[in-house]
Each structure stands twice: as structure tokens, then as C-alpha cells.
Symmetry: C2
Subunit: 231 residues, 2 copies
């Protein structure tokens, strides 16, 4: 009888414990699963963010009209003799440059390409802050577009120290790096074999931002009153 | 009595079901946890692999002896007048080039730097497969190191089509890309402001491998019997 009396109470106690234990297991599983999902999502977002932009562009560029990029208000297609509606290396480069909404830092050895100059002037008219660093000798060669940039009020500095300021890179909004072998000239765009990397990889972008700011500061004409900042 | 008889059997049945159910929950939790851990590990490895190498090197290089890199069997330091034991932009570049264990594909406009030439020759002696593409005009200028490379038995091709073959990139073991504004010349290394990206980012490395192979094929001298592959 004692056994019979004790049995149900033990059963109830054990059952309650088991239910509680099961609830704990389920709770723990749900917690672990949600933490895992959160972690996976975080890693996926991080991975995706890193994948956002890593592009390579090779030149010479195919021929194609870029007027619709430089003057988007014009009816498309325009009436020039170049092929229309084709994506070319130049149009891809122009799209990246024209995507600037706040700043464009440009550090380029030779700048004589008129389409690229028009893109920079269009950004300047939109209010994008533009800084240009160029080589002291190539800044004044025939066909250089540095003159028109300065005439439009864009701040241009030339280097005072090295043999050549041989860089060819641009920083769009301080987050997109465009760099490679390509000078901003017609020959480079249309005639040469050239390459460009377009990336948002922070480990690559950050050093170029630091280097641009360093070069911008050391080439401040106020620090070199005797140097000639060629027009 | 019927109730008393039925009670324990129902309890046993319910308890067995609950135990089985709990076992299933635990099994599922363990499975879910292990899959999550595996996934996290995979993402961590992938994330880590992507972080392996993303480096930027700026020039001009500081002065420093690189003899210990080119002739590691020599007692260190050597007896030249250059500073020893300093890490410079050139030594960082040399380390990446000398890390090649199977192949080095080099696509460079101008190649006259003797330290870089010695590094390529050292790799060739080690059995690393080397392919060099260079510009048809700059391949034969005074001081060009293309001659010594060919004399050592390294396969060199020059381009036959473009205005300039203006690339300056190298592919180490088909996995490390070195690219930027730097020609492989003494002036570029010691005098100019230049930049290099060293990366293992697959999205960046892959297009350069494809472009190198494309250029290598189209510039096969057998396909252009009338072209002069300058020495």
C-alpha cells in the first residue's frame, strides 16, 4: 500500500522534472539556433559587403559613344558616328567616376583625356569636392586637361619632390579605389594594353586615402613658395 | 481496480514516448549545433583566406641592402654601404616575387631593374616556370634586362598589336597578383612616386590570369612569323 501510495507521487515528480528538463532543452536549442542564425547572417552580410565591388577593367577600350553618360539630359542615342548602347571599358570607368556624390581625389601622372576631363567637370558642377594631384612636368604638356580643370575652379597641386609623380589612381567618395597602369590620356584609353582595378576592399582603399592626404599636404604650394605650380 | 491496473501501463507508455521524444530533441539539437559549427568554421576559414593577403606598397623605396634576399646563403649582413636589416618597399616586393614556388607570369612594360632581374633569374634556377611579356619597343632599350633573361633560357614574348603594352603586373604561383603603376626600373623603384597592390583576392587575380594567358597566346611568335621579337 505504501508502495502504491508512493508510486503516483514519484511519477508526478519525475514527470514534472522531465517536462521542465525538456522545456530547458527546447529553450536552449531555440536560443542556440537563433544565435547561430544571427551569426550566420552577420557573416553573410560581412561577406556580401566585401563582395560589393571588386572589378577589373582592361584596355584598350572598345569604341562606343559615352555622350549619354556625360550629358544624361540629352535624348539618347546622340547623332555621332560611334556605336551606341555598347558597354565599353571607358564607359565602365566613366560610370565609376560619375558615381561620386561627395568627393573625388585624383592622383594621376598624365591627364589629357577629354571625356575623363568632362566627367570631372560635370562632378565639379554638381558640387562634388575635387582634388587633383599631377606630375609637375606632365601637368603642362600639350593637350593636358589640367588647365581647364583649374579654370573651372578645381584645386590642382603638382608634386615637388620625386623624379615622377607616376601614380594613376582615383578615390571616389573616399570608398572606391580606381588604380592601375592607365594614365588618363587618349592613347592609354584607346591604344594601349592597360589595366585598372576598381575596389571597395577597405584594406586596399585605406592606404591610398592616407597616401593621397600625405601627398596633398606635402605638396601644398604655401609650403613651397619658390616652386612653380604650372598652369 | 481496472483503473489501478491501467495506470502504471499508461505511465510507462507515456514515459517511454517522452524519453524517445527527448532523445530525438537532443539528437536534433546536437545535429543542428554540429552543422552550425561546421558552417561557421567554413565561413571563418573562407573569411580568413580572403584576409590572407591584401597589401599596398608605395614607392620610392627607402634605401636598404637586399643581398640577403637574393643570396640567402651569404653571411648576413653583407659588406655593402647600404643600410642593413631594414624592411623597404623593394625588399617587400622582392619577398613576394621570391615566394614563387611553381610559376611566375610577368607582364611588364619596361624591365631594367637589376635586383628584380636577379630575383627572376634565381627563381628560374630553382626550377620555377617563368613567362615574360614585355613591350616590343621597350624590350630592347639600353639597360633592358630582357636580354639576360632570354640568355638564361627564360621564355620572353613581346606584344604585336597595341600602341604600348603598358601593363605592370606579375602573377606568383597563379594566386598572388602584384599590380600597379610601377615599371620594373631603377628610376621607378628609387625615384618615382609609385604604388603596388599585392593581393590574393580571387575576383581580382582571376581576370589577370585570363588576360595574361590571352596575351601570351596572341603574341606567340609562331603566329606572327614576320614580327621581330627583339632581343
Amino acid at each position: 500500500m505504501t508502495t502504491l501510495k508512493a508510486f503516483p507521487s514519484r511519477v508526478v515528480a519525475t514527470e514534472t522534472q522531465k517536462i521542465m528538463w525538456t522545456v530547458k532543452v527546447i529553450g536552449f536549442s531555440v536560443l542556440a539556433a537563433s544565435v547561430s542564425v544571427e551569426l550566420l547572417n552577420w557573416l553573410r552580410r560581412r561577406y556580401k559587403a566585401r563582395k560589393t565591388l571588386n572589378e577589373v577593367i582592361f584596355f584598350p577600350s572598345e569604341l562606343g559613344c559615352v555622350e549619354h553618360l556625360l550629358r544624361p539630359s540629352l535624348p539618347y542615342p546622340c547623332y555621332c558616328a560611334l556605336p551606341h548602347g555598347v558597354e565599353t571599358s571607358l564607359s565602365r570607368l566613366l560610370r565609376h567616376i560619375l558615381s561620386a556624390s561627395s568627393s573625388l581625389d585624383l592622383c594621376v601622372f598624365s591627364f589629357s583625356n577629354m571625356d575623363l576631363c568632362r566627367a570631372v567637370l560635370a562632378l565639379h558642377q554638381k558640387g562634388v569636392i575635387i582634388r587633383v594631384l599631377s606630375d609637375k612636368q606632365y601637368i603642362a604638356i600639350s593637350g593636358s586637361q589640367i588647365g581647364p580643370l583649374r579654370q573651372a575652379g578645381i584645386c590642382v597641386r603638382s608634386d615637388v619632390g620625386s623624379v615622377y609623380m607616376h601614380h594613376k589612381f582615383a578615390l571616389v567618395d573616399g570608398s572606391i579605389l580606381i588604380t592601375g597602369s592607365l594614365n588618363w590620356t587618349l592613347t592609354a584609353v584607346q591604344g594601349n594594353m592597360e589595366n585598372l582595378i576598381v575596389t571597395m576592399e577597405p584594406e586596399l582603399v585605406r592606404p591610398y586615402i592616407q597616401e593621397f592626404n600625405r601627398l596633398w599636404e606635402i605638396n601644398d604650394p604655401l609650403k613651397h613658395p619658390n616652386s612653380v605650380q604650372a598652369f
